[in-house]
Symmetry: C2
Subunit: 350 residues, 2 copies
DNA sequence: TTTCGGCACGGTAGCGCTACCATGATTGGC
DNA sequence: GCCAATCATGGTAGCGCTACCGTGCCGAAA
């Protein structure tokens, strides 16, 4: 092919990768030859020869949760206009699958890796440490990142929302979660801390389903639907809220581990004629796109998922060209989106 | 490395790819050496030498819509236990981005490709036709697939739901959509056909926002959030429903282009004190996980997204080993999930 | 015993590209 | 007009793996 353009093979390579190094005349000849032959460089050969690629590997625990697709949107926007190619891996909340994927991704010699959470298996961590490319952990923070972590504190988030509920006058506050990821556990810890600090107790334990119940509920779903999806369905929120009410009839608020569960709780209250927010405060987590459209609008914890993905890519690019100068632990923080569903104090009194 | 195991390099290669061709003794020696040296084969070199990879390229228009993440779940479940590696590309509903991604994916010499929809650009189509690997189009059907298409008819889906509403006694039925993808247009066509067949007219045109309004609404969203997401938010459903009511006060049903919009409509009815389903029928599309938990539960069109992804992978695997024997156009069909939000006839009368 | 097919394994030669160095042409300063 | 510095271009030698063929060995048939 290079011969047909009347130049050496290496000049073609140069013309395609750094056109500014090739004279205008030759460049035009080569461009023409490329078009005539519909020449497409083989990326595998390029990767083999140059020992690097433009692949940005991104590992997320789920593609079904808006949470991580928002992150991916930030990632995609961040690589826009760069040479980087995003390659997504789905760990399905399984540390071993994550480990497998880390190995598999690293075999392709990626330009950089972005992984979710800070709880990789020791083997996965070791591989990432020796990967020889920038590695950024997202959606959580730790004092001991592989290289750089950008995220927020889940325990802090849980504490803040619980304190908000307490400030609104709620006292019997339940924490509802269908399935506990490592991050949910952090939120639960924050919730408990806030309760303890205020001298309150946990009215009931509905954050953890028994193994049998999990299995039973999983069986209800369409075959092949992984449990973690099923376990944040609104219908599960309704079910768990009914159980919480049964075991603690004096309940006056529920803090849901995610907005989907909260949506279910909202509908259950509607169906039972329970007044939200007067008789029951309802709070979600993540501030998904439907929270403001609910009636009453749903309070939630706003996490900066899009920004997290975007910031991770920005950091990756700076790490690649050596210009990164920020700290190696970045806490993006969270915000309480206080809406009608937890607004008991103000407004009602006035 | 091969030397350290006391064997030839080629034997190592064989031992790793087809262990049955190597004697037990050597295989054990090699296994040990592999572990000792933490040897990891370079996939780029393998791809270069063997001119093939185990990458299954999957192109979807969005990672933010549950619709496509459900498909991806099916895909991931389908490749489970095989050598295939999923690689996801996000076209962001942009045909040119899709074309770019097709080119980029094909350079990696994938084992097969799965693309969404049947409306690729001529250039993308040509590349896929000459890709030399199985190509499956999903989530829509056409008489003229690239190689094989597995999906469902959107016009048929739109027609069925509209007929359901008519059968329930609704007569002034609006179609609401924030943004029209190529597939939404099909649903609108089916809706109009059903109305025409029943001798009914379209009460108002709320399926198409003006360019200015789209821009204004897009500006409302978080920077970087692509429009197509914003345009299916529940809050947009509330807004568009208000407009529809204003331009057609005698409206008695709305068929929403997706469940998110329908959720907004449901809440707007709740806020305005409009009785669903008696005074207003509300229908969505896709049958997302919250439809059954709404109060009243939301009628929708169930599309087989998970199954579509799974079936595509199954077909890909059969195409790869030459055992595929099905037709080259597969219509998975849709089902009407008739729930309370459109249940005007039965029950109320009895 | 010879012959031959089948088996386990190794040597050689690339796959298509790029890193590295070499070459020749051009420029500018003395 | 000479030399060094700078530029554009080409040649060579791999990157790490696998396809292809070849070697030596075995047991079964002649």
């Amino acid at each position: 092919m290079a011969a047909l353009a009347g130049v050496g093979a290496i000049t073609v390579s140069r013309a395609l990768r750094s056109p500014e190094l090739v004279s205008e005349t030759l460049r035009r000849q080569i461009d023409k030859a490329v078009r005539d032959l519909a020449y497409v460089p083989d990326l595998n050969a390029r990767a083999l020869a140059s020992k690097r690629t433009d692949v940005l590997g991104v590992l997320v625990p789920s593609l079904s949760h808006t949470v991580f697709t928002d992150v991916l949107r930030g990632v995609y926007d961040g690589v826009d206009g760069t040479k980087l190619q995003v390659q997504v891996g789905n760990t399905r909340y399984d540390p071993h699958e994550e480990e497998r994927l880390v190995a598999s991704f690293l075999r392709h010699k990626p330009a950089a890796m972005i992984v979710s959470g800070v709880d990789q298996t020791p083997a996965a961590r070791a591989m990432l440490e020796n990967a020889g490319c920038p590695v950024v952990q997202i959606m959580d923070v730790t004092d001991d990142p592989i290289q750089l972590c950008i995220g927020f504190r889940h325990d802090e988030a849980g504490r803040l929302m619980t304190e908000h509920l307490i400030a609104q006058g709620y006292r019997r506050i339940a924490f509802i979660s269908g399935w506990m990821s490592i991050r949910s556990t952090g939120r639960l810890r924050g919730y408990r801390k806030a309760l303890a600090d205020a001298g309150l107790t946990e009215p009931c334990l509905t954050h953890s389903l028994s193994r049998e119940e999990l299995t039973r509920l999983a069986a209800m779903s369409e075959p092949g639907v992984p449990p973690f999806l099923e376990f944040s369905r609104p219908s599960l929120g309704r079910e768990m809220f009914r159980r919480a009410l049964a075991s603690a009839p004096d309940l006056d608020a529920v803090f849901c581990n995610n907005d989907s569960l909260a949506l279910g709780v909202l509908f259950e209250c509607l169906a039972q004629g329970i007044d939200v927010p007067r008789d029951m405060g309802v709070a979600g987590f993540n501030d998904l796109d439907f929270t403001d459209a609910c009636s009453p609008s749903l309070s939630s914890v706003r996490t900066h998922r899009y920004r997290n993905g975007y910031a991770a890519v920005t950091a990756v690019r700076q790490l690649m060209d050596g210009s990164y100068e920020g700290p190696n632990v970045v806490d993006l923080g969270v915000e309480i989106a206080a809406r009608r569903s937890t607004q008991r104090c103000v407004g009602d009194v006035a």
